[in-house]
């Protein structure tokens, strides 16, 4: 089973975001991160805690478009999530509308905040998440519209903003990785800037840099993103996303 799709590469790359996290709550936001988090727990990261999207921690592995399994292992109403996130035992993967080279992320509004061109959701929990526990990002369509020189509203705190705000902002601040339909990136560039970690099979480095609205740090030869294992492909195709919803988010 060596054939795989781009969407499956992305799902495995999202799963890898939680590698080594142990017994913490995974907070995937959006489809591909949800596939990735369930995949991670079903394979190399069995200690992860996952919610049903409402207020129940559930055990087991289940499909993204099906009701969760009946086995509840905890009650986590929103107030408990707020308590938990401040303990640091959580790692979210959020979907930014804009993200810059330092990992400042915007989900609030496009344009001037006082009177935005496009009002989005609001800052939600992004400010608190990013200064309390590890944060990763998922961008299903890597373009210069999303990867911008400067975000209009800093919701998720970037490395430069955390440093400027002082030790209490930096103490638990940790941006892990950015997974897109083209590549995997992290913040290992100079001064905590975004660095190209790997390009997905079939993608060139030039394609990634051309679709990034700022100078991306590239360290010599850029490897290919790892491909999903046979075990992962079976889980993705038969258990977690049997209806192939991933292909609509990341077309082949």
């Amino acid at each position: 089973m060596s054939e795989f799709t781009r969407a499956e590469v992305c799902a495995a790359a999202c799963a890898d975001a939680w590698r080594g996290d142990g017994e913490i709550m995974a907070g995937p936001m959006g489809l591909t991160p949800s596939i990735g988090a369930r995949l991670a727990r079903a394979t190399f990261e069995p200690g992860l805690l996952l919610s049903d999207g409402e207020a129940t921690l559930v055990a087991g592995v289940w499909a993204v478009d099906a009701p969760p399994p009946a086995t509840a292992e905890g009650w986590v109403p929103f107030r408990t999530i707020f308590d938990l996130l401040a303990t640091g035992r959580r790692h979210v993967m959020m979907g930014p509308s804009q993200i810059d080279r330092y990992g400042n992320a915007n989900i609030s509004a496009i344009g001037d905040f006082a009177r935005p061109k496009r009002q989005l959701l609001g800052v939600r929990g992004a400010p608190g998440n990013t200064v309390n526990h590890p944060t990763s990002y998922w961008v299903p369509k890597h373009t210069t519209r999303t990867f911008v020189e400067r975000v209009d509203v800093v919701c998720g705190v970037g490395n430069d903003s955390a440093a400027a705000a002082g030790p209490s902002a930096s103490r638990f601040h940790e941006l892990r990785r950015v997974v897109t339909n083209l590549a995997v990136l992290d913040f290992g560039g100079p001064g905590g800037t975004m660095r190209l970690v790997s390009v997905h099979p079939g993608v060139t480095v030039e394609e990634v840099t051309a679709n990034t609205g700022f100078a991306l740090h590239v360290d010599g030869e850029v490897p290919e993103t790892r491909t999903p294992t046979d075990e992962e492909l079976v889980l993705i195709r038969e258990v977690i996303d049997p209806n192939g919803r991933r292909d609509r988010e990341v077309p082949a």
């Binding site: 929103f78 009002q119 929990g125 992004a126 400010p127 509203v153 400027a164 002082g166 209490s168």
Partner: protein, 285 residues
């Protein structure tokens, strides 16, 4: 009480907290009663859903205090967007946890509570009134001093209540309804059904009784009162109706028709129109 009696106790210019979360268990019949009233210039504090959209569309709101506004299954609230993009409302956009801390500070009669959330983000830039506070202990941490969000009134919708104001949630999450009630001078509970006190715990656990009569100034029986938001397990979100609402909100003529059909009469008229809609579309209200 009736919805209109509750609204008669509110005044223009008040700060009003609205319970629920997004498009979940919102006190919509009370919101609709505000739409019918001459109240104006309200400050609304909430984890926002269609309550925010409807109040903005009716010009009732001068300031919004929120962490997000969303219809959940439809991510962006169209009337809220329009209000923001036309500059019709002033906003205090905080981190979700800051909102909880502000309500908790008010409930505990504290001026503020320290929180890490907000540091380094534009929440601090866009709300220049926010201050930080330095720990008096050896750690010396500098944290956000989230100011108390004191409410003149709170409006929440629960599944069951007794006539005295003891109320319970039967769905997955109490959200922050108890906190809104405690942060407010006066709290009003609408519920699917008012039952005798002994029935509240006849079939469910006492831990679901999160709202206590000492927090509550008035109770309204409002069957289907959270419509079209969800009120699990009594009913789910009316997705079909919500889609109609969102589509209408994008077009002035369609919105006028929506308003005339659903929002021009009493709560009974609203519920009848929803029922009639279900009969014609085959969708269960």
């Amino acid at each position: 009480m009736t919805e209109d009696q509750v609204v008669a106790e509110l005044r223009s210019g008040m700060t009003i907290g609205i319970g629920g979360w997004g498009s979940r268990r919102k006190p919509m019949s009370l919101v609709r009663a505000i739409l019918r009233s001459d109240l104006t210039d309200l400050t609304v504090v909430t984890y926002g859903g269609p309550d925010v959209g409807l109040l903005c569309a009716a010009g009732k709101v001068s300031r919004l205090v929120y962490g997000f506004v969303s219809l959940d299954s439809i991510p962006l609230e169209p009337h809220f967007r329009a209000a923001r993009q036309s500059g019709a409302v002033e906003v205090t956009e905080w981190d979700e946890g800051m909102l909880q801390a502000g309500l908790y500070a008010a409930a505990q009669r504290l001026p503020f509570l320290p929180l890490r959330a907000g540091l380094g983000s534009d929440v601090m830039r866009f709300d220049p009134g926010l201050r930080t506070v330095t720990s008096p202990y050896a750690d010396g941490e500098e944290l956000v001093a989230v100011p108390a969000l004191h409410l003149d009134a709170a409006l929440v919708h629960l599944n069951r209540a007794d006539a005295a104001g003891n109320a319970q949630f039967l769905g997955p999450d109490p959200y922050f309804d108890d906190l809104y009630c405690q942060a407010a001078d006066r709290a009003y509970v609408s519920c699917e059904q008012i039952v005798p006190t002994e029935e509240l715990t006849a079939r469910t656990d006492v831990t679901r009784l999160r709202i206590h009569r000492w927090m509550v100034s008035g109770v309204v029986e409002a069957p289907n009162g959270a419509h079209f938001t969800s009120c699990a397990p009594d009913y789910g979100r009316d997705e079909s109706f919500q889609r109609e609402y969102a589509a209408a909100a994008g077009d002035p003529e369609a919105w006028e028709r929506f308003r005339a059909t659903y929002l021009s009469g009493t709560e009974q008229d609203y519920q009848r129109a929803v029922e009639a809609r279900g009969a014609t579309t085959g969708v269960q209200a």
